[in-house]
């Protein structure tokens, strides 16, 4: 079918477009981590600026493989002039999933693989539940548009989005876990036992997202309400509920779903705040620990993985557009 072939060619083009972007991300992170500051500077900073010997700096660099030239190793011969460099070993190798070792000597790739599970266990339910709750709320506000319910609903949304995310976490944890003792304050369990630890972070995650999302979706619904096909549906004599659930909801879901598809791959990364407050051994807390310990290798790896996941999200968005909206042409 010509349509399928056009779509296939389109997707291949999008995939090819991802390659230069990935190279760009790689170059930026490399420049940020190795050119803005030389490895000598980083060594001096981590070892303490005052009492530091040249030998200690050399040892620090050798331990991490930072003692090689940046781009061209003139001491080596053949292919090694390119491969025995910081750029090749630290940046190019990331593309095949080799992230090297963290400062504590552990393999970063393996650490990431084991920590993805807990991150996803929090992020996925939060995402699905949050989407369901906010879309339902927005639909209700749009259905009762221009009434007191709508007005106070929007006021509540604006108030909720003005509250710091830290407040939801600190306040929720204090009230529900410490005062009411309904769930453990923090921690994580294996297997089915994990739900006791997950329920509070997921609940707080959903609540803290309501304000801005519900208001945004409400605007999308209201934009659909004003369109011609809605008037036609009403003119046919359809009851308002049918107009809303069969026509408006379906059409408004196109911008909403395609808008959220881009964040789905990023769910693997977890949430920095939630994970560190609730002591969940996921990628978010891994990143925070790395930032506080100034473990450059881990932060660099997370930047790279985050970018790859974002690019995957962009491609998924393109695919979802073509699946959801048949009017899209591939050009």
């Amino acid at each position: 079918m010509p349509h399928n072939r056009a779509m296939f060619a389109y997707l291949v083009r999008r995939l090819l477009y991802a390659i230069p972007i990935l190279i760009g991300v790689n170059l930026i992170t490399f420049a940020l981590f190795f050119i803005v500051n030389t490895p000598d500077d980083m060594a001096r900073m981590q070892l303490g600026v005052k009492r530091v010997t040249p030998e200690a700096i050399e040892k620090w660099k050798a331990e991490r493989g930072y003692d090689k030239p940046l781009f061209v190793n003139s001491a080596a011969s053949g292919m090694s002039t390119v491969t025995e460099t910081i750029f090749f070993e630290k940046s190019v190798r990331m593309v095949v999933g080799d992230f090297g070792r963290a400062d504590d000597g552990r393999d970063i790739a393996r650490e990431i693989a084991t920590r993805m599970g807990p991150s996803l266990a929090i992020a996925l339910p939060t995402f699905v539940l949050g989407l369901f709750v906010t879309v339902s709320l927005a639909l209700m506000l749009a259905f009762f548009r221009a009434t007191a319910l709508d007005f106070w609903g929007v006021v509540l949304c604006v108030a909720m989005m003005s509250i710091s995310g830290l407040f939801y976490i600190i306040g929720g944890q204090y009230l529900i876990a410490k005062i009411w003792r309904l769930v453990p304050i923090s921690g994580f369990g294996e297997g089915l036992d994990a739900w006791r630890f997950l329920i509070l972070p997921v609940f707080i995650g959903v609540i803290s997202g309501i304000g801005s999302s519900a208001r945004w979706y409400r605007t999308i619904f209201l934009e659909e309400v004003g369109k011609d096909y809605v008037r036609t549906a009403r003119a046919k004599g359809l009851p308002e509920t049918v107009v809303f659930f069969r026509h408006i909801l379906r059409n408004a879901l196109i911008p909403i779903l395609t808008g959220v598809v881009v964040v789905i791959p990023l769910l693997f990364m977890g949430s920095l705040l939630t994970e560190s407050f609730f002591g969940i051994p996921g990628l978010g807390s891994y990143t925070i620990d790395a930032i506080n310990a100034q473990d450059f290798a881990v932060v660099r790896s997370m930047v790279f993985i985050g970018s790859v996941l974002y690019i995957v999200g962009l491609i998924l968005t393109d695919i979802s557009y073509t699946l959801v909206d048949p009017r899209i042409r591939f050009s």
């Binding site: 230069p20 972007i21 760009g24 991300v25 930026i28 992170t29 940020l32 981590f33 803005v36 500051n37 500077d41 980083m42 001096r44 900073m45 600026v49 604006v158 108030a159 989005m161 003005s162 509250i163 710091s164 995310g165 830290l166 407040f167 600190i170 204090y174 410490k178 990023l266 990364m269 920095l272 705040l273 990143t287 925070i288 930032i291 506080n292 100034q294 450059f296 932060v299 660099r300 997370m302 930047v303 985050g306 970018s307 974002y310 690019i311 962009l314």
Partner: protein, 461 residues
């Protein structure tokens, strides 16, 4: 008052530059009827004007805190003058009772005694374990510690009375000076500016602020923190940090976003491809991670070059500015994309095609015909970003990639206070005060942004 030396921090320069720019902007708006009409719509918006009044108070506090100086130390005559290490601001001078009234450690709001028990020497010898009396909180009461309630009530009543009197004077002044603003018209909201909203807001602010100011020199109204500093004073100091983050960041990103967005949309072709590539790459790196990486690198630069900074305040200030730059670089892509799309549409319009046919140069077309038609998008983006940036500062400071730990900000306050929820009895005041102050600021900013968007967005009308 002794001799002093004026200190100009870099962020002060940028803040006052912003003030000058907004004055020039206002003068320019007067000459442009469509922009003037849009601002009139903002002026008639009740929620918009009420929130603008609140924001103005925050801005005033921030501006007072942006005039810095160093006091000269007492020295022998003939010696070269030495200045204190500590950099103070005009706000510090006004609030000096708050700044100097240090306690030993935590104390609750309106407390007269410390939070923790200590060994106290009795005058007749011997020791007793009790909550020690505060050095400053409620000192004027002397032995009569039970009189706190009555004393506070009395002071609040006086201050509230003064507030009401001041407010009535203000209402009369507005009726006298503003053309066509009679009592009935203000009451029914028929004035051109939403005076009823402004006056009600000012009334509420006066009723809150005057009692607070009357009590602040005698009590720790919001308590004290771990090192005994007054929480109310910290809140006042945090305002400037929040404003700098919210405003200077947009100042940094604006030229880049506007220039690149317009150029990409106007010239198309390879220029467009290049700029699109640039912002897609930057956008691909998740914001927090890019900020974390950049801030870590900035810390290395600052730590390995201690000779660049003569005072700690200067170092903290430069770190704040660097944070603004980093936030700006990571956040310009959204606005740039919007402007590119809009320019693509505009350049196909007849009047621009005609200008091109007449041989008007591209820079001139961009300046005269395209830029003015993009102003509404720029203004909306400016006000929309502010609240997000204020909230982001708190989160970044918590993660450890925010402002310098020595700089007072809502983020550092929350970060220092959150561990204290585990204590028994709970130390809640610093956390609650920071959250409430932040909530008021962000809510006002959000409401104002809504009013501006409603007035400027042609789609909303």
């Amino acid at each position: 008052m002794s001799d002093f030396e004026i200190v100009v921090l870099w962020s002060d320069v940028l803040i006052w530059l912003l003030v000058v720019a907004s004055v020039i902007g206002m003068l320019a708006v007067r000459r442009s009827p469509p922009l003037m009409a849009a601002w009139r719509r903002v002026g008639a918006n009740k929620a918009g004007m009420a929130s603008a009044t609140v924001l103005l108070v925050f801005v005033l506090i921030g501006l007072l805190d942006s005039l810095h100086y160093r006091v000269a130390l007492e020295g022998k005559p003939g010696e070269r003058k030495q200045y204190a290490i500590e950099v103070l601001s005009v706000l510090d001078a006004i609030a000096s009772p708050l700044r100097l009234n240090h306690e030993k450690t935590y104390s609750a709001p309106f407390a007269t005694r410390l939070y923790a028990k200590e060994n106290i020497d009795l005058p007749g010898g011997g020791m007793v374990r009790d909550y020690p009396r505060l050095r400053h909180g409620g000192r004027h009461l002397g032995e009569n510690e039970n009189g706190v309630g009555a004393d506070v009530a009395l002071r609040v009543t006086y201050a509230a009375g003064l507030a009401i009197a001041l407010w009535l004077l203000l209402v009369v002044a507005v009726m006298r000076t503003v053309h066509g603003a009679s009592w009935q018209k203000i009451w029914r909201g028929e004035t051109r500016l939403a005076w009823h909203a402004i006056l009600v807001t000012i009334g509420c602010l006066l009723l809150c602020a005057l009692p607070l100011l009357a009590l602040a020199p005698h009590y720790h109204v919001f308590g004290t923190d771990k090192v005994g500093q007054d929480v109310f004073y910290q809140i006042l100091k945090s305002v400037r940090t929040a404003l700098v983050i919210g405003l200077v960041t947009t100042l940094v990103m604006l030229p880049m976003a506007v220039l690149l967005g317009i150029v990409a949309g106007y010239f198309r072709g390879w220029v467009d491809d290049l700029i699109q590539y640039l912002y897609t790459v930057l956008n691909s790196i998740p914001g927090v991670l890019l900020i974390a990486a950049a801030v870590l690198m900035m810390q290395v630069v600052i730590d390995t070059h201690p000779e660049w900074f003569s005072t700690a305040a200067e170092r903290a200030d430069l770190r704040l500015l660097a944070l603004c730059f980093i936030l700006g670089i990571t956040s310009w892509t959204g606005l740039c994309r919007l402007l590119r799309g809009e320019t693509l549409k505009l350049r196909e319009l007849d009047y621009i095609q005609a200008a091109q046919a007449f041989g008007v140069s591209s820079p001139r077309i961009i300046l005269r015909h395209i830029l003015p038609n993009l102003m509404h998008i720029v203004i909306i983006a400016l006000v929309m970003d502010f609240s997000g940036l204020v909230l982001a500062e708190a989160v970044l400071s918590y993660v450890g990639i925010g402002v310098d730990p020595s700089m007072t900000s809502f983020g550092t306050m929350i970060n220092n206070a959150r561990m204290e929820l585990g204590r028994e009895p709970v130390v809640w005041w610093s956390l609650v005060a920071a959250f409430v102050a932040m909530f008021v600021l962000v809510l006002a900013a959000n409401l104002f942004a809504d009013a501006v968007r409603e007035a400027f967005d042609p789609r909303a009308a």
